[in-house]
């Protein structure tokens, strides 16, 4: 029964989690919150993470009731994310792996979200809507691989919401998205905003520019309230996400949808997705804020699966990577991920076949 320690700190949340055989034994987390009207910068974020990570590690071990010797593997976020915060967490993972003489596994942040979502909800082979401050993708399993069916062509939906919050100087505590959601509940008027779905993809930078522009004018004339703007923005961007998710589900004949990522905490988004799923006779899965928002246990869980599949990350290859590698071509849009899945999983993380080590391929179960 291997126990895996997972470190996550690719954005402004830092978490350390412990997972053993599908059970989360500990999952403490801290968030770096900046003043209203500002965002978080890499250097300051890394500084925050360095200041708290060792306390979090101790907390995680204590909460799990484990000592360092009970840990079988150290997992950490290898990427994607912000460079300085990623590195500040990775050095601790490498150090404890060497101190305790345990194997190291570098995890893809996106895979962490998906695998935790599947574990917690029990979804078998869902179409995944991965929406956060840094990512917006619709991912589906089709013909033996994860594939990106649709994504943002510019900024993530969470980034759009966060930057809109700055314009209105909405508080970043606990997160700008949460506060926009609460204000939206009090909105009454729907302001028409650009609706930018482009085939299977979406675009948010235009909406952001537009609403930044009109917000000041409309608020000054009293034409609408900040609550109306929050409401209108949510309704518009969430409808776009529902549309591209539905398109992917139709393409794959999928009966399950799973929302992961910080924006997935949003109850309004869950409502709108649920309505779409019901119309299709499909089931919606979503997790609560413990697992939607970046956390260490999701990295531990993905790391656990990779560890079980025999994957190890040698120190020399453990450097952080700010962006996920490669899109081979538009026609073959593959999410290239670190391999790692127990054979019984129907939903396999995989690299493109020609890049995979031959000895790993048979155990992946996707051939």
């Amino acid at each position: 029964m291997p126990a895996v320690l997972g470190f996550e700190g690719s954005a402004n949340k830092i978490g350390v989690g412990v997972v053993r055989d599908g059970k989360v034994l500990a999952n403490p987390r801290r968030t770096y919150v900046t003043a209203p009207g500002t965002g978080f910068l890499p250097g300051d974020t890394a500084r925050h993470h360095r200041a708290v990570i060792l306390d979090l590690l101790q907390e995680a071990l204590t909460e799990a009731g484990l000592t360092s010797q009970d840990i079988d593997c150290i997992a950490y976020t290898k990427g994607p994310g912000m460079g300085a915060p990623l590195a500040s967490v990775a050095v601790v993972a490498r150090t404890v792996a060497q101190l305790w003489n345990k194997p190291l596994v570098g995890v893809n942040h996106c895979i962490g979200h998906i695998e935790m979502g599947r574990l917690i909800t029990g979804a078998i082979s869902p179409t995944v809507l991965y929406v956060s401050g840094g990512n917006t993708q619709v991912i589906s399993y089709s013909e033996h691989r994860y594939r990106i069916f649709g994504e943002t062509i510019d900024i993530a939906v969470g980034n759009c919401l966060d930057r809109f919050a700055r314009v209105l100087k909405i508080s970043n505590d606990p997160s700008p998205g949460y506060n926009i959601e609460q204000m939206a509940k009090r909105g009454k008027k729907l302001v028409e905003l650009p609706y930018t779905v482009k085939g299977m993809d979406v675009s948010f930078s235009g909406i952001l520019s537009f609403i930044e522009d009109v917000a000041q004018k409309m608020l000054a004339t009293g034409e609408c309230t900040p609550e109306d703007l929050c409401f209108s923005l949510q309704e518009t961007v969430f409808a776009m996400l529902v549309e591209i998710t539905e398109r992917a589900m139709a393409h794959c004949g999928s009966k399950e949808a799973l929302i992961v990522g910080g924006v997935g905490c949003n109850v309004r988004l869950q409502e709108m997705m649920a309505a779409m799923c019901q119309e299709r006779g499909a089931q919606l899965f979503a997790t609560d804020e413990r697992f939607c928002i970046d956390n260490g246990a999701m990295i531990a869980q993905a790391g656990w699966e990779m560890f079980q599949a025999g994957h190890r990350t040698p120190l020399r290859e453990s450097g952080i990577t700010q962006s996920v590698a490669l899109r081979p071509s538009f026609s073959e849009r593959l999410l290239l991920l670190t391999p790692g899945a127990s054979p019984k999983m129907t939903f396999c993380c995989t690299m493109s076949l020609d890049l995979l080590e031959p000895q790993l391929a048979p155990s992946m179960g996707y051939l």
Binding site: R50, V91, T95, N101, E317
Partner: protein, 159 residues
């Protein structure tokens, strides 16, 4: 202990004690570089130049690069840091943790990590003093974190 060691041991050497091509010389480096081959390396690709054959002899450098010192006509800043550890194992652990993450601005700045006995030696070469300052400061912050981690969760288990 660790913090005192860090302050006492940091040697700011503004004159290059070693050129980067020199560190491959076994006679000068009694302990081989702990750092896995390319991990601490700087990818320096001068425009229009081809990778020099001798680059592959330099420990700690990527095989496809030419060390900054080979580029003609460019003046470089150099900075050397020496950090003492209580044991060579701890120095190796620190090197293993700090070497893998690549430097940004790899064409302009690079650093090389090496373990010598109980010492971690870091050498920077940079064409830009501002980037050099940033890299050094980041490294010192990361180093402090590694040292604190060893202090709090060490000592290393016996192998």
């Amino acid at each position: 202990m660790a913090e005192g060691g860090l302050e006492g041991g940091a040697a700011v050497d503004m004159q290059a004690a070693h050129s980067l091509g020199h560190t491959a010389d076994g006679a000068d480096s009694p302990t081989s570089c702990c750092c896995p081959g390319d991990a601490g390396a700087v990818a320096v690709i001068p425009s229009g130049a081809h990778p020099a054959a001798r680059a592959s002899e330099v420990s700690g450098w990527s095989k496809s690069t030419v060390p900054l010192t080979q580029r003609p006509g460019i003046r470089h800043h150099r900075f050397a840091l020496t950090v003492p550890f209580p044991t060579s194992l701890e120095a190796e652990i620190a090197c293993g943790s700090l070497a893998p993450d690549a430097e940004p601005h790899r064409g302009i700045l690079g650093k090389d990590l090496k373990v010598s006995g109980c010492m971690l030696e870091v050498h920077w070469i940079s064409e830009d003093s501002r980037l050099l300052r940033i890299s050094i400061m980041n490294f010192l912050d990361q180093l402090a974190l590694v040292v604190n981690t060893i202090k709090r969760f060490g000592p290393p288990v016996s192998r």
